[in-house]
């Protein structure tokens, strides 16, 4: 008994320290310090190397500084003049040479990784190609090889390289999935940036826009959902199945005239707004209203239907500055119609 108590006493602080450290490392699906994909792992490796070197530098500098401050304080009555040293060639060479060596240690893997991450997999037959288009304030994902367009949730199979081609529809945004890979800008000058991600773990990873793009920059989030190859194949089939229509013909008409002018469901509709096919299975509505049905949102998710109603009732309240017309004020939808459309969309699911 005594022994165990001692062990706990000894291990306790360690455990507390570990928990604190882990919490400082952030969420598994969001933190750069808990990489879940090969790119992020490479970047984390570089971070650890550089942090190591930098801690060494800091220890040396702080150590000398502390020693000097304590040792060479002017004592009362100390009036003789200290020796006026001009410099010391040997010392100066040392503290020029050591930083150069440290920089070299960091530079070599940096260059290796720059080229490794700059690899273009868009011609690779085994890679899944996805075209990413950023909009104020949402993300569009197109799979050219499968003829699928979706928004907000990027579905990827595990253990495959995902070759991304990024562009923007308006201002500069930056594509960032911290736990999978660093950022790539979606350029505004018409050039297409290419990058890639890869993970072996199934799960949902949080993505964010990292470049100031307007009022709702903070809310321009998305998810990367990695699933098994089987599930991915199922999803591809499911996305292409014909979609149900709204039963009530009046609401169906409103939906067609007001919503489908910008949004698409299945084969029908426009492309100015996010594609809504299978929206009932997504992780969130409007990036920030998390769906309880989603896999990672047990704490703060709400039913997808409620989220849809909240969004459709006043989009500007949820996401200030977004480009969707207000269904009630601009498009003249009634609360009942909004509810019916929300129900319909919540039921619009795809299977994995």
């Amino acid at each position: 008994m005594m022994k165990r108590w001692k062990a706990i006493r000894r291990l306790g602080p360690l455990l507390i320290g570990l928990t604190l450290l882990l919490s400082a490392c952030g969420r598994e699906d969001l933190s750069t310090l808990r990489p879940q994909g090969s790119v992020a792992e490479g970047q984390y490796g570089l971070m650890k190397l550089s942090i190591g070197i930098m801690i060494f530098v800091m220890v040396v500098v702080f150590g000398i500084a502390a020693y000097v401050w304590v040792k060479f304080r002017r004592k009362p009555g100390q009036n003789e003049i200290p020796e006026q040293v001009e410099g010391n060639f040997k010392l100066e060479v040392i503290w020029t040479a050591i930083p150069i060596i440290l920089v070299l240690i960091l530079a070599v893997p940096t260059i290796q990784k720059v080229f490794a991450f700059g690899e273009d997999y868009s011609a690779d037959k085994n890679a899944i190609k996805v075209k990413v288009t950023s909009h104020l304030f949402w993300w569009e994902f197109t799979y050219p090889d499968y003829g699928i367009t979706t928004a907000q949730d990027l579905i990827i199979p595990t253990n495959k390289k995902i070759a991304l081609e990024l562009k923007t529809a308006d201002v500069l945004h930056s594509f960032w999935v911290p736990s999978l890979a660093g950022k790539t800008d979606t350029n505004t000058d018409g050039t297409i940036n290419k990058t890639w991600i890869e993970t072996s773990k199934e799960g949902v990873y949080l993505g964010k826009c990292a470049e100031l793009c307007g009022p709702s920059h903070a809310f321009m989030e998305f998810k990367v959902k990695s699933v098994s190859q089987d599930s991915f194949d199922k999803w591809v089939v499911s996305m292409k199945e014909p979609v149900q229509t709204i039963e009530d013909p009046a609401v169906a008409e409103v939906f067609k005239s007001q919503c489908l002018s910008c949004h698409a469901v299945g084969e029908q509709g426009g492309s100015a707004g996010p594609n809504l096919t299978g929206i009932g299975s997504r992780e969130s509505i409007a990036s920030i209203l998390l769906n309880a049905e989603g896999s990672g949102n047990t704490v703060d998710g709400k039913p997808v239907k409620d989220n849809l109603v909240e969004w459709l009732t006043d989009p500007q309240l949820v996401k200030p500055g977004n480009k969707m017309p207000s269904p009630k004020e601009d498009l003249g939808l009634t609360d009942a119609e909004i509810k019916a459309i929300a129900e319909y969309l919540a039921d619009s699911k795809v299977s994995y």
Partner: protein, 629 residues
């Protein structure tokens, strides 16, 4: 030429508006910088209040974007730049043994254009909305398509005018340091602060014209309908990023180098030792400035410039660590073997070293491009540049202000209050920004007006906000200190710290308007210290006492700047409908712009046609004052 002895000396407000005395202009810069620093600080606190808890609605998303834009722009261009210029003005002519700067008239002009530019920028708050595209104002977010108010016009034109003032100041200090040094003061005998200011001025000269062009292009796009950044007409938004950072990166070295100079002076003075490795310090400063122009694309690693460019800019950026490291170790070994006194200036210098080192090492981390893909545009970057600019530059400026305050105002700031100020400020600073490194690493991107709960951000953001208020307390204690000090009588010794090494400590505090009754003869580095250790109380003069020629006070710089201000304001509203025929008429026909330009060019013409012969302070007067002092 007649000796205009009975020259009209202005009093009160008119004195300040017309002065060409570098010491008074220094004080003007200080108050103006302090004013804008206060505005930027309040903006910072509002930002931190908004971010104190998740999904906060203290300010709206739009207001938040205006706050961050104005906070960054104000702090960099209108807060710290003028305080740097205040110190440069107050100290450099004294350190090089000169009676004034090379161009007193331009000196005043530089101040007033800066001030009017800053005022114009801040007018945006009450004239329809502040700029909202970040201090970087990337296109096309800053184009008229996405930024509908005049905010960005205030940004482009306000910065243009303020930048003009900075450029004028830079040229003036370059010329001053090149030609006005006292006999015997070779370049390698110049005090370190003069050296770093010299290099900073050179960087201003080569960096500011780039942003001038950038701002012109953006102004033309927004007001004249040009297409520099409009993709549909062939424009190129990435061009803005290049132009901005070709200026923007040197700009951060422009800011930090004078702080290096201040720290060098303070550490050496309060260790009672000459600066260790003076020549390598000079060399390192020049190298930093040189490399500073070759690293701009490290702000654009995620833009997709390609692996080759990213690799090259990674290496060039990391190289800056080498000269910076040289400086740090030289400071440490200046103290080694010395007799260190922790006065308030030295306390700030001591705080500077570890804090700046932390900002420096995160800078090297950021230099590694692949890792930067993760850090870029997150709170890690926010933490990094605040460690460098606040932990480096602002601590340096506080050190410099406490150090030279007695020289500028003839009164010592309270050491007791100063210590309180130091500890609250530095503890608040680390509380605010240390956690932000981790916020960035665990996934919080920068410039977000709020964040969802349960992401692990909540606690650290709250800590950061608390820290920010503690920093605010530190600043308030400083202001209290200033007010209390201002009520004490003038009259400290020439060398109030007793260990002064450079020429400014050899003359009265505050110095007479002509600075040196006789220009001193400089016999080595740390000229005054050298004389003191040789047993002399004063510098050896290099000339006999004679009448001293002084430039006349003039209102023209003020008028010229006022004209530019009016012209800028007029240009901004050329295509607005005011709903008022008269206003429409005068704005839409460039009449207001014309009036402003007429005032400016008229003043220039006046200046060109009527020579300023200046006036003389006669020998009798000098001797009288000499007796009094």
């Amino acid at each position: 030429m007649a000796h205009a002895h009975s020259v009209k000396r202005h009093k009160g407000l008119m004195d300040w508006l017309t002065t060409v005395d570098h010491k008074k202009i220094a004080i003007l810069y200080l108050w103006a910088g302090g004013f804008f620093f206060g505005i930027g600080g309040i903006e910072a606190l509002l930002i931190r209040v908004q971010l104190a808890k998740p999904m906060n609605d203290f300010v709206s998303a739009q207001q938040f974007n205006e706050l961050i834009t104005m906070h960054g722009t104000t702090m960099i261009f209108l807060g710290v730049m003028p305080v740097i210029f205040a110190l440069m003005n107050a100290v450099i002519p004294l350190q090089i043994g000169a009676r004034d700067v090379a161009f007193p008239f331009l000196n005043s002009l530089g101040f007033w254009t800066f001030l009017f530019g800053g005022l114009l920028l801040n007018l945006s708050w009450i004239m329809g909305g502040a700029p909202d595209a970040g201090w970087t104002s990337y296109t096309p977010l800053s184009s008229t398509t996405y930024s509908l108010t005049h905010g960005i016009d205030f940004y482009t034109i306000g910065l243009q005018i303020a930048g003009l003032g900075t450029l004028i100041g830079g040229i003036n200090f370059l010329a001053t340091i090149i030609t006005m040094r006292a006999p015997g003061m070779s370049f390698m005998r110049m005090p370190m602060f003069t050296w770093t200011s010299f290099i900073t001025s050179a960087m201003i000269l080569f960096a500011f014209p780039a942003i001038t062009v950038g701002l012109v292009l953006l102004t033309f796009d927004r007001i004249l309908g040009a297409n520099f950044f409009d993709v549909s007409k062939g424009g190129n938004p990435v061009l803005w990023q290049h132009i901005f950072w070709i200026f923007g990166h040197p700009e951060v070295y422009i800011l930090i180098l004078p702080a290096f100079g201040v720290i060098s002076e303070v550490i050496s003075t309060f260790s009672r030792k000459r600066l260790f490795g003076y020549s390598s310090m000079v060399f390192a400063t020049i190298l930093i400035a040189f490399l500073g122009f070759m690293v701009w694309a490290h702000h654009m690693f995620t833009t997709g410039l390609g692996p080759v460019a990213n690799a090259l800019f990674s290496i060039s950026t990391m190289l800056i660590a080498v000269p910076t490291g040289i400086k740090i170790f030289n400071w440490l070994f200046t103290m080694w073997g010395g007799q260190i006194r922790f006065t308030v200036p030295n306390l700030f210098a001591a705080g500077f070293i570890p804090t700046f080192v932390m900002g420096g090492v995160t800078g090297v981390m950021l230099a590694s491009a692949p890792a930067d893909y993760q850090y870029h545009d997150t709170y890690f970057v926010v933490a990094h540049f605040h460690y460098v600019i606040v932990g480096g530059l602002v601590l340096g400026l506080f050190a410099g202000l406490h150090y030279w305050w007695p020289k500028m105002f003839g009164r010592m700031l309270s050491e007791r209050l100063g210590k309180w100020e130091f500890w609250t400020f530095i503890i608040g600073f680390h509380l605010t920004f240390f956690v932000q490194h981790f916020l960035g690493l665990i996934g919080m991107q920068r410039r977000v007006f709020t964040y969802l709960p349960n992401q692990g951000f909540d606690l650290m953001n709250l800590v950061s906000t608390i820290g920010a208020f503690l920093m605010g307390v530190g600043v308030i204690i400083f202001l209290v200190n200033v007010v209390i000090t201002a009520r004490q009588p003038v009259g400290v010794a020439n060398d109030p710290w007793e260990d002064g090494r450079t020429l400014e400590w050899s003359i009265p505090s505050p110095p007479p308007e002509y600075n040196f009754k006789q220009i001193p003869l400089v016999r080595g580095l740390d000229a005054f210290w050298k004389e003191k250790t040789a047993g002399h109380k004063e510098m050896t003069p290099a000339e006999p006492v004679g009448p001293i020629h002084m430039p006349s006070a003039t209102i023209l710089p003020f008028l010229m700047s006022l004209g530019i201000f009016i012209a800028g304001l007029g240009f901004m509203f050329t295509s607005d409908d005011f709903g008022n025929n008269f206003l429409n008429f005068i704005f839409n026909n460039y009449i207001v712009t014309g009036i402003g330009l007429a005032i400016t060019f008229g003043s220039m013409l006046w200046r060109s046609l009527f020579d300023d012969h200046g006036w003389h302070i006669e020998q009798d007067e000098l001797n009288e004052k000499g007796v009094k002092a």
